[in-house]
Subunit: 346 residues, 4 copies
């Protein structure tokens, strides 16, 4: 018998991708989709691509609509999942939050970066950070999953082998990150209008993006020996989907001889969703469009300087796909279920 | 045991879409992919999105490389499939030509519109025009299938119910067609360069596009009672994929009272790949991206004037997807195999 | 001494183009720019491309801010200019309305198509429709100028020579119109978001766009002998700026021999802003980007069928540029002042 | 009397921008435009936006066609200008090369990075590097001007104040550069096709772009005290025009207290084409589209770490516009002539 799934906040871009991917999942069925702004409407009237795929109606976001489901995805703004978490956990539901409510372990960090009084700060320590390639065992056992941000997913997968190996100087890492527009969601903002965004390129939040403390927190878990100092500058790219991060780091002197290609291939050996590119071939975002794959290129450009490039689809591996990967692990399903579509090639 | 498939001309846009779709087909396996310009290269080195999906090498386009397969797709320029057709048919292979070699039944029309001496004009009468929704029974029995052009697919599906019903004046039909850039293929041409095409819009071949005789030929088959006169003007749209046709026609006086919505819904009842939109809702190309679906809106704007809008993904229902739909029919498979992916929503 | 100009509604796309063009006008100076949503802000903080070009602040839209100027442009939503018109005309100001307040001569038509009680219906008959190539003499003498809509501008320039010549059947004209996204303005709407619009194409308002009565009204002025029946279907194209209209019409039997190229070249002889393309060369929107030019191609595709293609930049010849052209005429300036920039070529 | 200008290689993107800008220059007239692939054609037939702006025909690239002009722009591939330079200089012509022939002062560097035997290596030392804001006095006196590359222009303007002030550690500078597609020119390449480039993002030439030695050479001229080590990674952005560079550097310990905003504003005080953004406001490429302006933002993100963001239009300040700025200086004209157009705002 299929598990029943609720998607809270189903009309945003992450929500709709959850629906598109889960529509063909063999072990779960979408029972409930919620949206406060569109309740009563059919999801396939809002996104006509879903006609004959999923034609159910959206209901209000409230506990009575959610609680009959076994698994609850929150594809909502920050501050929603944490309102429902305690009650849902008490009734043994599985929660997967695609927002930031449970990503930071330290309530002080939360208070500093998010302007919301956290309703259940104690859960911050219990939630598991859902990056399966680095954290799979813990994910298996949790009912409260914090799905990573899109930038952190690409950045952490790209740099983890070096941190675990203790191979680089950690006090001077530069992450130059580039994201398509869908990363900013479906809400209205001038810089998401076609005429403002097409044929345009800009850096933003140079002084501090909310994903920075999240990345730093997870980096420290991977390498706690050294002081960490990270520069993170995101850029908005005139395309719909895709993230590319370019990471600049320096090898420790004693690690200059390390075989980086081998280090990466070994670390991610057997990982279906991580692909290490051959030397000299750099990944492009198009090669992962609509797929849950992260492709990584590791380059040594001088005796100690290295440049890592990683790409993901921000809506799949950076959001809905990874959430389903986490669900598969939490439920004991094959991790790849409903995530094996070939990338859109053209 | 799986049928063996060859894809001739595998690196073009139609070829690569065939690969992406067939990679997960449960009843066939891709045995041979050919390309004269890229022979010896791995297809996944050319399209890195195919890494770990299909990593075989391209071979030269020649009979010895093709003949071991049961089914041969030609995703080539015009004039290639017809060179191989006689020999392949003699050895009982199934041929599906995505080019125009077998679309026109009349060698005079071919000579007029294509600057190529046809190697086997007698086959023109035997080939079956592969529009399953209009021609399914004949497709079941053929080994030589002419896969329709992208514009004709959208146009014919959009207007067929009216022609079959003999409901419109056929001497004054206007088809204003719009296509994304991929319709022009992957060969080099100035008007496919990003900087020439982005933020640009143009009509082309007003004096006569090669798809016009193809559309006319099939229209006459649907309605041979009346003189047919069609105006067809294609336009190039700054997007990668998608076709939208806007068709302007007039009801015959005695057919003014016809229920058009019902006519269309009845005609396409049970057709998985044709979706008639509700009154007042117009289809957009995004709603069929990466899918084999055609969505159609039928609108009556005055007592006799009607406007039909239809959308397809030119690379799927307009090329590779329809070719696989035809293969499924020719082989007695479930017609939908490997064609049920949800459209890319964002 | 320079004339003082006010731009009411300066932060929308038409308003900002007025500023960009007028910034270098030798005979006027921008004295007042208004915006209710952005009052107090510097225009160059909103559009940083204007830094060091025009750094004045926006003020509230109210009479006391406007009345000191000689010329008032309304680049506002419908229903604003008509609130100020009577008082401004009484003090001898020149009004150029880029919205629809004064485009329709008949209050019944206004009431039917616009959901706004018109504050000064008597002015509807006095306002002059500002299409200089067809209406120059009246423009010279008016103080109340209705700047044409973008679709009407392209459509009327494209078909006027045929109507004036009484060369076509007027009861069956089809206008298939395509516009970039900026035509919909800067206000929020889902279908203006980058992720909803990029790689997408759709028809809209098939049942009746507000520009249809405007086009019909002006067509009748050009040819009142015959019943007029116009089909007008607009489409949204994934590009920022540019309009292309494709017009399908039929020659009257007795006019079959007419030299269409000559008809058009003669009609627009001496018109700096209208360019008739040579036979067989079709205009593309990019060729008029950022310029006030309309390029037109006239094609005879059979004994009686003709196809006309015309392109304009919707924000320039379709809005701000034509408004300035009208101002130049109303003020007795050289009609081309500040409108001679070369189109943006790439 | 106007100076006569020749544009060699007039049909490429830099060439065509030279034409568009110079068409309205009050002190020069375009006498000769050359193209080997298009000789005999009218430039306005290739770029219809130039109809009625410049309708002369292209002639072959050979000395007899060029030598009658006073000023010769080479908007050609590398290796052309250097073939003509000696003879043109001998007859006292002014040469402005938009390619790389004269950018490197050291023939060894040239040999290492360009696969062309340099015809006149001695001229490498005489040519002046044409970055007016850093090099104006030398430009005034030269007849042989090397117009900087697009990436170097943005990078050098962005970092020059820090180097001149000796404020940063020069052994660890990271330049993450992003360019629109037009930077790669108009020649055919797969990664310039719309369908390959739209909705895609990639890094390229991580191991070493030809602009790196050019940037390093000029940086050393600005600060020769220290060892210089630069990491430079370019990225291809799915837009037509625009470059944005994000530069990561560290202040020297003793320079931590420096007022960076003031340093930049002072350095570029009076420079019409350099705009220092206010603190906290980051430039976007759209704000300089079609203009010769470079906008720079200087940000201190920790005690010693700084991030500089600079934008230019790669075809204007990064190519044709700067070439004309240099011509104006070399000829003693007002430096801004024909370069004061307002950026395209939308």
């Amino acid at each position: 018998m299929k598990k029943k799934v609720a998607i809270v906040g189903a009309t945003g871009y992450s929500g709709i991708e959850l629906i598109a991917l889960l529509a063909n999942h063999p072990k779960v069925s979408i029972r409930t989709i919620t949206s406060n702004s569109h309740q009563g409407e059919r999801i396939s009237d809002i996104y006509p691509g879903l006609r004959n795929v999923l034609d159910i109606k959206l209901v209000a976001t409230k506990m009575s609509n959610i609680k009959e489901c076994d698994i609850v995805f929150f594809a909502t703004p920050n501050g929603i999942a944490s309102k429902y978490a305690v009650e849902l956990l008490n009734t043994n539901k599985k929660i997967i939050d695609l927002a930031a409510d449970f990503r930071l372990n330290d309530i002080k960090q939360w208070d500093k970066h998010y302007n919301i009084k956290h309703p259940c700060p104690k859960l911050l320590e219990k939630a598991i950070y859902g990056l399966p390639e680095l954290n799979r065992e813990k994910i298996k056992k949790t009912n409260l999953l914090a799905n990573p941000g899109c930038y952190p997913t690409a950045t952490l997968l790209a740099i983890a082998p070096l941190l675990i190996e203790n191979a680089i100087k950690t006090d001077d890492i530069v992450v130059d990150a580039k994201s398509g527009i869908s990363g900013a969601g479906r809400g209205f903002a001038l810089n998401k209008l076609f005429c403002e965004t097409s044929e345009n390129l800009a850096a933003y939040k140079i002084a501090g993006h909310r994903h920075l403390p999240e990345i730093q927190q997870e980096m420290v878990k991977l390498n706690s020996h050294n002081r960490l100092s990270l520069t993170f500058v995101p850029h908005l790219i005139p395309m719909k989907r895709g993230i590319l991060v370019t990471i600049y780091a320096k090898l420790k002197q004693k690690k200059q001889k390390i075989d980086l290609q081998k280090l990466y291939e070994t670390r991610y050996n057997g990982e279906f969703f991580v692909d290490i590119m051959p030397q000299g071939i750099y990944p492009q975002t198009k090669s992962v469009t609509n797929s849950n794959i992260c492709r990584i290129s590791i380059n040594k450009i001088s005796a100690r300087k290295i440049v890592i490039v990683a790409v993901i689809d921000n809506l799949i591996k950076g959001a809905a796909g990874q959430a389903i990967q986490n669900m598969n692990i939490m439920c004991g399903f094959d991790e790849k279920l409903s995530l094996t579509e070939t990338p859109v090639i053209i």
